[in-house]
């Protein structure tokens, strides 16, 4: 990889930090279940736009930070976000040419995968299983917010020449 062409790494870093902060912002209890998965969305965007810079390892690292901050099992978010990065890197060429209304379905399934996995891990740890499909709410809100996330990150990437 020719690293001299890489620039604007701080934008990627800052977008991840912002996404992590958005995961921690206090919401009322009912809204907490609907919190969009900002980190997964930002990760999907960068894996799609710059697969040569952001990939499996970045996903894993961000997941590890999230594990520590959210108090989940060390490695839980790391594993699943590495998988998200892998899958979105794998299909990045196709994803780029999809229109937004088609992309949202890919985002929905990836975020749903994250939360199904988290629910499964919680169950293994002895938490009571959610009776409803509560763990899928974040996938739904991410579904609706993806176009905005995508467009704003693309503006950032183009405006600040992140390559």
């Amino acid at each position: 990889m020719n690293l001299d062409h890489h620039q604007g790494g701080w934008v990627i870093f800052a977008s991840f930090i912002l996404a992590i902060l958005l995961m921690l912002i206090p919401l009322p209890l009912w809204a907490g279940f609907w919190r969009p998965d900002w980190v997964a969305m930002v990760l999907i965007y960068w894996c799609m736009a710059l697969p040569q810079r952001v990939g499996v390892f970045s996903g894993w690292l961000v997941g590890l930070v999230l594990d520590v901050l959210l108090g989940s099992l060390l490695g839980q978010h790391a594993l699943v976000l590495a998988l998200v990065a892998y899958l979105s890197g794998k299909v990045h060429r196709r994803l780029r040419v999809y229109p937004l209304r088609q992309q949202v379905f890919v985002v929905f399934s990836l975020v749903a995968m994250v939360h199904v996995f988290n629910a499964w891990m919680r169950h293994l740890q002895g938490y009571p299983t959610a009776s409803q499909l509560e763990f899928l709410y974040p996938a739904m809100t991410s579904f609706f917010l993806w176009p905005w996330v995508f467009i704003s990150l693309r503006m950032l990437r183009r405006g600040l020449h992140v390559r």
């Binding site: 990889m1 992590i20 921690l24 912002i25 099992l73 594993l79 002895g126």
Partner: protein
């Protein structure tokens, strides 16, 4: 020009290696204590992010409060004054009892066990996983907080410190499924363990004999065994009790007395240093 094919280790291989690593981490984190140091180190290095979220929100709330209505403030003031009076009267009686207790313990040759130090902490305006039973408070290493320190509110026991940063710490609530604390039924003195269930207002009592004498409404208090929690603080109230002859243990559930998810201010209490005469019980909470 971007290279047409990305070089370096293939993502598939990387994913495989990192998955193995993550599974190993999860297993080690859940089942063993090897990773505690690593985790504490990570926590200390990323915990400033809590401040980035919590401080602006908290200052906004303070600002909003400072503009709140005069009438409300007066009402609150009156209410607090009444409460203070009531508490002072109760305290007069308690300090008398405490003196008496100290004298009696002195006569018996037992070391007095009284609380040494308290500190009020605020729950930070930070959300963790909505399913988890944990919270972040604004006191840390620099306030002499240490791991395992018990946390209380005005009604009873809330939990204990599980992660320590320099200015914040993470508290595991007593309802977390990983948490168990030694308790006593206040009325009968029966010792048992109160384990979290992951449901926000349910504690489960473990290893109760079928013949245990328990009534609904009985209060449970900390027993002081395990030496993490000082003894005699309210933990909860029994809500259900079933004893089935066919089963080895009776089932009992309790509702925590502390307002676990509706608190802003909590109290950290440093337990007195254990005296040599009473220090033979191994500490084993949390599991």
């Amino acid at each position: 020009m971007h290279p047409l094919f990305l070089r370096g280790t293939s993502p598939t291989l990387r994913l495989g290696l990192l998955s193995v690593l993550s599974v190993a981490l999860m297993f080690a984190d859940a089942r063993m204590n090897y990773l505690d140091n690593l985790r504490h180190y990570f926590y200390a290095s990323v915990s400033p992010l809590y401040y980035a979220v919590g401080v602006p929100i908290q200052s906004a709330q303070t600002l909003a409060q400072s503009f709140s209505q005069r009438r409300l403030l007066l009402m609150e003031n009156q209410h607090l004054r009444d409460q203070n009076l009531r508490l002072q009267v109760q305290h007069q009686r308690l300090s008398d009892l405490q003196d008496e207790n100290k004298r009696l313990r002195h006569l018996l040759g037992a070391a007095p066990k009284f609380v040494e130090k308290m500190l009020i902490a605020e729950v930070m305006a930070v959300d963790l996983d909505p399913f988890s039973r944990k919270m972040v408070i604004n006191r840390g290493d620099s306030d002499d907080v240490r791991l395992g320190l018990p946390v209380f509110d005005a009604q009873g026991v809330m939990g204990q410190v599980m992660e320590l940063g320099s200015l914040t710490s993470m508290v595991m609530l007593i309802t977390d499924p990983d948490h168990t604390l030694p308790v006593q039924i206040a009325r009968t003195g029966l010792h048992t363990l109160a384990a979290g269930t992951g449901v926000e207002d349910v504690l489960e009592l473990l290893y109760l004999p079928n013949t245990a004498e328990i009534r609904i409404g009985d209060e449970i208090v900390t027993s002081g065994l395990g030496e993490r929690f000082p003894r005699g603080y309210p933990v909860g109230v029994i809500t259900t009790f079933h004893s089935t002859i066919g089963k080895s243990y009776a089932e009992a559930k309790a509702r925590p007395s502390a307002l676990l998810d509706r608190n802003r201010d909590v109290l950290l209490i440093w337990p007195p240093r254990s005296s040599p005469t009473e220090a033979s019980i191994p500490s084993d909470t949390p599991q």
